[in-house]
Symmetry: C3
Subunit: 207 residues, 3 copies
């Protein structure tokens, strides 16, 4: 199993857990859990693979991704009531899934010798699109658009880090974990300590 495959599996598993947690908030049945879990789990990587015209899309060539996401949904269905604060779990699991998926997306683009701009974009896309679909489908404000939080910023920083470390001559076994770590550190700092970039503030028109 290559590092890229491992990252895809990691992102699928953890994103599936977040999708199932969202399904629990919507009180769906077991198949509904699996539906939202699979959509969230493979959404970002699917957009990446369609954009890069990879054939087949990663989970169609290897159905075990879907089985893994479904298993995660089943576990959450039977255990989510044991958890004190499902929303906190959702946020933190999402931060791990985001970071791993950013590395997976950047890694795939680098493997295909894409230019740095596309590497950065594929990292952000793979990281953010699954969660975005999850949130749009259930009608919540997407985490990536929550104001006053680092999310797209963390994803971009992670993808750029992976690119820079790889360009510096390190192999992908160093570059991709470094990118994931930077992404997660920023996102976790935002969740735990309120780190943020200055947000746009409209000012009253001048006289």
């Amino acid at each position: 199993m290559t590092l890229l495959t491992l990252l895809d599996f990691g992102a699928v598993l953890i994103f599936a857990l977040t999708g199932a947690l969202v399904a629990s908030r919507a009180q769906l049945d077991l198949v509904g859990f699996a539906f939202v879990a699979c959509l969230t789990a493979v959404g970002g990587g699917t957009v990446r693979d369609l954009l890069l015209n990879r054939d087949p899309v990663f989970w169609i060539g290897a159905p075990s991704y879907i089985l893994l996401a479904t298993a995660a949904a089943i576990v959450v269905f039977f255990t989510a009531h044991l958890v004190e604060s499902r929303y906190r779990w959702l946020l933190w699991l999402d931060s791990f899934a985001l970071s791993i998926a950013v590395a997976a997306g950047a890694g795939v683009a680098m493997q295909l010798d894409q230019p740095p701009v596309i590497v950065a974009l594929m990292g952000v896309t793979t990281g953010c699109m699954g969660g975005l679909m999850r949130d749009v489908v259930v009608g919540e404000v997407p985490l990536v658009l929550k104001h006053g939080e680092l999310y797209a910023t963390a994803a971009l920083a992670g993808a750029l880090t992976a690119q820079v470390v790889a360009t510096a001559g390190a192999g992908s076994y160093a570059a991709l974990p470094a990118g994931a770590a930077v992404c997660w550190a920023l996102r976790a700092g935002s969740l735990a300590f309120g780190w943020s970039l200055p947000a746009y503030k409209s000012r009253p028109p001048r006289h």
Copy 2:
């Protein structure tokens, strides 16, 4: 005309009617009706074809799908006011479109010799994605996420039925209608009699 083509036409026609009914609830004009009708009609099959890398996408190779969906939108534009309960019509038409599209999706995947997991997923995807786009775009809770109803479950059961009947040696002329029938029976039972699977219920934390 093959069975798969026939199923695609059937799903397109009926999904287009549901899209146009949703457009009537949003009081759009005739072109708006056609827009939502086409999006709903070809949405699920388009996702299926992109994922399976079929070239061309089914309706791009045969524009009559779009003409059919547009004709359906026009008919609804001029007749929907004659209908007593547009929402009941929407639900029941959607149940037929779902069932036919599930069979169409599973059938295409089987024809491409995909493994059972992918056959099941393509059935669910083709069945659910058009209606999901329709509902997300107009800002309603997607039918597939309505709690206490069989929807994704009906789609999954239909796709699995088609797979099992085909594996048992029956041709697709038996397998696909059987899958559609099972899907529709479950969805109709849910609409008419409130059939459902146990939904997730959060329980108060233990002491």
Copy 3:
């Protein structure tokens, strides 16, 4: 630079401005601005290219599209507070982006010798999908579904105009600007003078 490339660049730039304006209404940070701007800017053309199986998708083959959209987002981030009515700007910029993108979509489909139905659909898709994604993601009613306005109608009229002018023997340098002009005239008339088509009105059931 060909006319089609020029149209794609124009649509990307102006759609990016609208995306950034929407980001300003959601009070995102600078990277959030760039995220929504890029999604809006390349969304429609990406759907077009995936549907037509163009490889690579236009902005993956030429990352300068992304840099342009990002630059537009940065400019809006630092200047939007100078603007009196951001929503009016959003509407009018969107009308230009829509018109240019309709021409770009129809032009690409004509270049690929697609039949007229697909040319029309690709014009509408390229024009409407980026803005639709922008509005869905932030949870607003998509402009294309606003009742009592010409939007999909303007897009369709523009795409059909381009097709008719091209069929009449004019080159694309006449056909595509003509299509964009017709689209924009209708959309602008709707914004400025309230032009609209009769909308669906449900009537009470007859006795």
